[in-house]
Amino acid sequence: MRRKVGSRNIPLLVGFLLSGLFLLIALFGSKWTAVDPMQVFNKVLVIDGRQILPSRTPVPPLVLSQFPLGTDNSGRDLLARLLFAVRPTLILCFVIATLRILFGVMLGLLAGWVGGFTERLIDLLTGASLAIPILIFALATLSFLGERTLWAFVIALVATGWANTAVFVKNSTQVTKQAPFIEGARAVGVRPFGILRRYILPQLWPTLPAQIAFELSATLLVVAELGFLGMFIGEAFVRTAEDPNSGGNIAIGLTASFPELAQMLSDFWSKMISSPWEIAIVGFIIFLQIFAFNMLGEGLRRHMDVTRPRRAWWRRRPLQLK
């Protein structure tokens, strides 16, 4: 017996499982560890007969059972920090992705439905937003705003980030607008707003879940890049070390107190020398999260694609003529 071609949606399965895992960590991760993610370990530990102070010499992973993933470059438990870090990053990405979709859908609908001068104006805005690399725009905006709050990040990442969704929604609206049932609706006297709500929006719903997932992954990528460059939410303090020449303290880098994934990528140079495993582990987690969202989006897109020979229990069946 042959299985039907494409009867299993592996991307959707992988995407759901991985995203679900990250959602669980975001919701309950902080309860799975008894260690305070902000506690700096200052007690001397003995590894292979050598005495080590975690706050000075970070502990590598898999060496001590106390620190399964080792410590970060300030001597704090990396596993506990990771478990706490997922939640703020996900909240940030969700807020930004939701706002991007919201603005994108509104402006796209407006451009596709109204036409004329409005359409040309929105097209100009979309073109300009699409032309600027989002990282450059976000860096310049955050540097200008000078504060590292949620709202600064929202402004920096939403101000041009809505354009992709808008293009997509506009094209879809323009196609739907030509359909005979819109003409029919007009003929029986449905008002423009009613047409928008009852005939045009429902055509968009099936594509939105995939769009949200892709938007999440794009947001996370930019947030990670910004974190790598030292732009992250939350307070930061300057790490100091004794200067062998003068005897005083010199600044060697920035670090933060409350963990957040993007922020854990910052301070790359000192981590590269003192705790390279931290870069590898945090980098892998971020990659996994972007991968999860992309797989989810791809899976949802395939799931909603009616040209594929499958039927889902909740996809509306075609109207049967009796």
């Binding site: 790598f228 920035l254 590269m272 791809e298 040209t307």
Partner: protein, 311 residues
Amino acid sequence: MARLITRKLILLIFFLPLLNYIGYSYAQLHPDLIHSPLGNTVSQDFEPYGTYLRGVLFAGDLGNVGQQTVSQILAGTIQNSLLLVGAALIASILGGLLIGLLAVSPRTRRISSAGLVVLTAGASLPGFLLGGVLLAGMVYLVFFTDATQTFLPISGYGLDEHLFLPVLALAIQPTLHLAKVVAGLLEDELQKDYILVALSKGLGWWRLVWSHAIPNMISPILITIGGSVRLMVGALLIIEAIFIWPGIGRIFLLAIGLRLDARPLGVFFGNPPLLAAIAVLLGAVLLLADLLFSVLAYQFDPRLRLAEDGQ
């Protein structure tokens, strides 16, 4: 065609002076420069935009940064950056097309699930993470084992193996993104009726793909490549910072006040003529790339030409 080029050129002529103005006033208005006692350049000391513009237009003088002129600083760095982006672009076009065409199975005419998982994974791998992890791994080997030298040069400029890691980090995501797009387009194209006709005539697989499917896919592919130029220019900032590549991205980071180490900012921070010149350059590269790939798409896809003429 002529209309398209004219429209894009008008956009270019309109946007570049605007970017110049935005870059200049950005630096003049930057709050850190106005309020912070630590900023070592005070923006209000710089000449107003009108004077600067007159200098540019009539004397060809792009302004000064410390002892150097802006054109001195930018001349070499542009070359280095273009070299890096060019190499990465060529690598990603060749690699993306090849991987994309190989990902579709001739038997089912669909992308295999495993292929899709691999392509999505590759397209989700940010280049700077890959670069950072490779760098950290190599440094780890030197520090914690008895290796005396890293396997590949990890930083600096050079036209030899120095290119390898930055190009890899810059090209990996655009390559697999392009591969994914190519595979998706090919899959859609292969479901159409004319492919069945071609198959029933007994055409071979590569003949089918090369002379029948590809000409129909060429314009979205070119537009995707144009988009990946934008991706690369964005990623260039961070890749140049990681691999200490002396290009325009590093100058830009310094100019908007970011350093990856905690040393004080140099004279580049918030220099209005410098930022104005960088804004114009980046804008010109992006708009010209957009122009080039749109023109190519029009050239190779007669349907677009017909649509334009029919209006």
